[in-house]
């Protein structure tokens, strides 16, 4: 791969979506995609096609809720927001991510 952009790691999209909603409050799908790309300073390449099935999956598990609303430039859009269960889930996922990345980092440094 010559591209400097990295694909979103499998399994981390949920974490990114939850975190984004935690920080930004209710957002629509397009906004979430924009936000993830901006914050990662365009380093993360989000396949937007996987975003909507992911949103559905999170909603099915009860971690986020959705509601139709109107966007800043007056377009009808579906807004997603974090539920209480989602907030708990986010904490767990963050903790587990930190454990994992710390372990990987340690491993990389010793070699």
């Amino acid at each position: 791969m010559t591209s400097s952009k990295a694909e979103v790691l499998p399994g981390t999209l949920d974490l990114l979506v939850l975190k984004t909603l935690d920080v930004m409050g209710p957002m629509h799908g397009f906004g979430i995609a924009q936000r993830i790309q901006q914050v990662s300073e365009e380093l993360l390449q989000l396949n937007q096609g996987t975003l909507y099935p992911a949103l559905l999956r999170l909603e099915q598990r009860g971690w986020i809720a959705s509601q139709w609303g109107v966007s800043e430039n007056n377009r009808k859009a579906k807004y997603y927001s974090l539920t209480r269960a989602g907030r708990r889930q986010l904490q767990e996922e963050v903790a587990s991510w930190e454990r994992m990345s710390a372990a990987i980092n340690r491993l990389l440094r010793t070699s």
Binding site: H28, G29, F30, G31, A33, Q34, N47, Q48, G49, T50, Y52, P53, L56, R57, E59, Q60, R61, G62, S71, N73, R75, K76, A77, K78
Partner: protein, 895 residues
Amino acid sequence: MRAFFHRLVSLLRRRRLDDDLDAELRSHLEMATDRNLQKGMTPKDARRDALRELGGGSGLGGVDRIKETYRRQRGLPMIETALEDLRFGFRMLRRSPGFSLLAVLCLTLGIGGNVAVLSWIEGILFRPFPAVVGQERLLALGGTARGTPGSDDLSWPDFVDFQRSCRLVELIEDKIMGTTLSIGDRAERASGSIVSPNYFDALGIRPVLGRGFSPDEGSGRNAHPVTVISYSTWKERFRGDPAILGKTQVLNGLPFTIVGVAPAGFYGTFVGYSMQFWVPTSMLERFDAGGYKLEDRGARWIEGFAKLKAGATREQAQEEIAAVAKRLEAAYPETNRGRGVELLPLWKTPFNKASELLPTLGITLAVVSLVLLIACANVSNLLLVRSLARQREITVRLAVGCGRGRLLKQLLTEGLLLSALAAAGGLAVAYACRNVLVMFFPASSGIALNLSGELDWRVLTASAGVCLLSTLLFGLFPATQSSKVDLAAALKAETGGVIGGDGGRGSGRARVRAGLILVQVSLSFVLLVGAGLLVRSVQEMRTASPGFSTEDVLTTGLDLFSAGYAPQRAKEFQDRLVDRVRAIGGVESVALARVRPFSYLPYSSAPIAVDGYRAAPDEQPTVEYNEVGPDYFATLRIPLVSGRELARADDETAPLVAVVNETMAARYWKGEDPVGKRVQVKGRWMQVVGVARQAKYGTFLETPKPFFYVPLRQSFSLRAVLHIRTAQAPGTIATALAREIHALDASLAPQEVITLREHLDRSTAPQRIAVALLSLFGGLALLLAAVGLYGVMSYAVSQRRRELGLRLALGASAADLLRLVMSYGLALTGGGVVLGAAAALATTRLLGYILYRVSPRDPLAFGSAFAVMAIASLAACLVPAWRAPRIDPVRALRD
């Protein structure tokens, strides 16, 4: 769990959710386009970039893929594809209505037959009393005698002792009785039951009006003239009179107070009959011409049930009651030596129509299973033909990446659809047939019959099972065959084998179809043989002599008991009537007897002792007998081997005499002529004056048994049957007889006059049911097999057009081709017949129970089955074979 629920909801709202997703994706694209426009792109580029970004580089196709992933994530893929398969299946069935109709019809016959028979078995054998609470805890009560197989009845004192001593069961007495119901000036025969006072309570039947019987109404000789009437009697005879309680109804000349009305849907507990009234045990003497029996431990007349108390098993209850029977045996050795009791499941009830129908229903179940197999083979064949027609579709599906598993599921779903439609039809068939069995039992006066099937959840579950099983049977093989299409080979034309050539060159599918035809032919052959055997057996019964003459004998009942005659007056009446009837023109002879041969009413039976005959220690020789009037043997033409006929002189003032039959003479006098010897019956010595030829007494199927006759005058009965030997028609005699009876006693109602042959035919209803059903299903099976054979042959001819055309072009004559095709078809039939004959030889033994004088290997039955099969298969092959030489060789080769 939550996710599952979410998905399930989505499944039901898919249309709305699809729109929802569309709107969401549209809004995403619009926002992305807006952003791109702000960046300064042209509107066209802005939109294309937005699409590319969302779809991962493949434009609109990409967006569709998102939707597909999204849908898969949203719903339950298994159910969803099943629904898809179902919708597709419906479309396929609608596309070829001829095929669908034929397949559904075949299966409806198969499944419908099974459901109907299952519902009969449920409604007659297993759960015959839907109105009874807890009928699964009811057991039939049968008395046993050591050394004698089968069950008989109990005596009332024994019954009471069992009732008192048994903790695990509650005993219920129920004895069927006939009587005359007179309301106003209308006198009609009716059937009712004498029941123990706990009857309604123990069965959980709550009268809609009034009450059941109270405990004290069971005892006290003739002390409680009360009755509960049936719902239909109340509605029809009393026009639903709301003030019916307390009114009286005359039964056998005595007014009974109506104390209750049974609920609708309760017909009593005698399978086959619908009771019109019930009276308590204390009133027995009013209905039983045999006299007062409630204090006689030796008089066995009680039939009934034992209801298990909660938690008890049949084995425990049997153990308990057997122990009580042992105690009674020790306490009353004269009457109870060797006597026991058995508790039987309802389907083994020894005393009603259930036991009569048990073998017939068993055979019928086997028959309908065979028909279902044949129907499945037929539908399987149809599916194989159709899978060829659908080969293109299936090849395309496989080529574009449809998994074989998915394809298999699709094909099986179509099969399930067929059998589900057929099962619905089958349920309708079964519902329509639930009362068919009653039609085989002729209506005789005073007996309301009730033999209905029961379509409860057990039958429905079993039917669903039959439906699934048959789907697998007929659908699995064609489906695996279809999904095994070889893509490369499918592009080439089907390379046909040679008709009648070696099977190795024929395609595998053709071989399978031939195999299915073999199965069909052989199974239908078995059914045809079975039908043939039963037809022969019923013919035998019609023509065979039961040991007495049935030609030119008319019979009619004469019930002086219900009319309230005292014995002396009855004797005079009988004598005068016999004299008057003998004087009617065309009457040869007349005789009275207590019991008509082959009737439900049992013969008398008594323990006997014979000089010089030493019984085994545990044996109490007991023999049945009939009380007959003068001229009985002449009238029924029962030959006397030695000695003399009973005469009018053998009356109550003369010495006691008896006529024994051959078997009795051989068993108890060891081949010596018993005439002049004596026999002790119920403690009275009688002199044997004659030996009668062996006859059939109860059924055609019984084995020769000891039997004897005593003069009616010396063991008098107020109820008797008149036998009249005459060549006149029953109608003529009935009119003359009614006149004579009226002249003697205007208040006495004459009964139905029928020929003895008619009476015998009525007793063979179970055999006739079996014949009718086997012939019906045998015919259907033959039809199915012929249709299948025809299909295979026509298809073979149409597939081999090219080869047949080539043969014609090379100079084969029309006759050659005809012979070629016919020989193939007949070879198939021949193979099927050989297999079927082997199967039939192995299985027709099972019919042995109901076959009379016909060997299960009767050559005539096998021969006629063969002839019928040969004709059917000739007819099925002829049309395709006739078509073969008419193929235009030029066109066949060019195609």
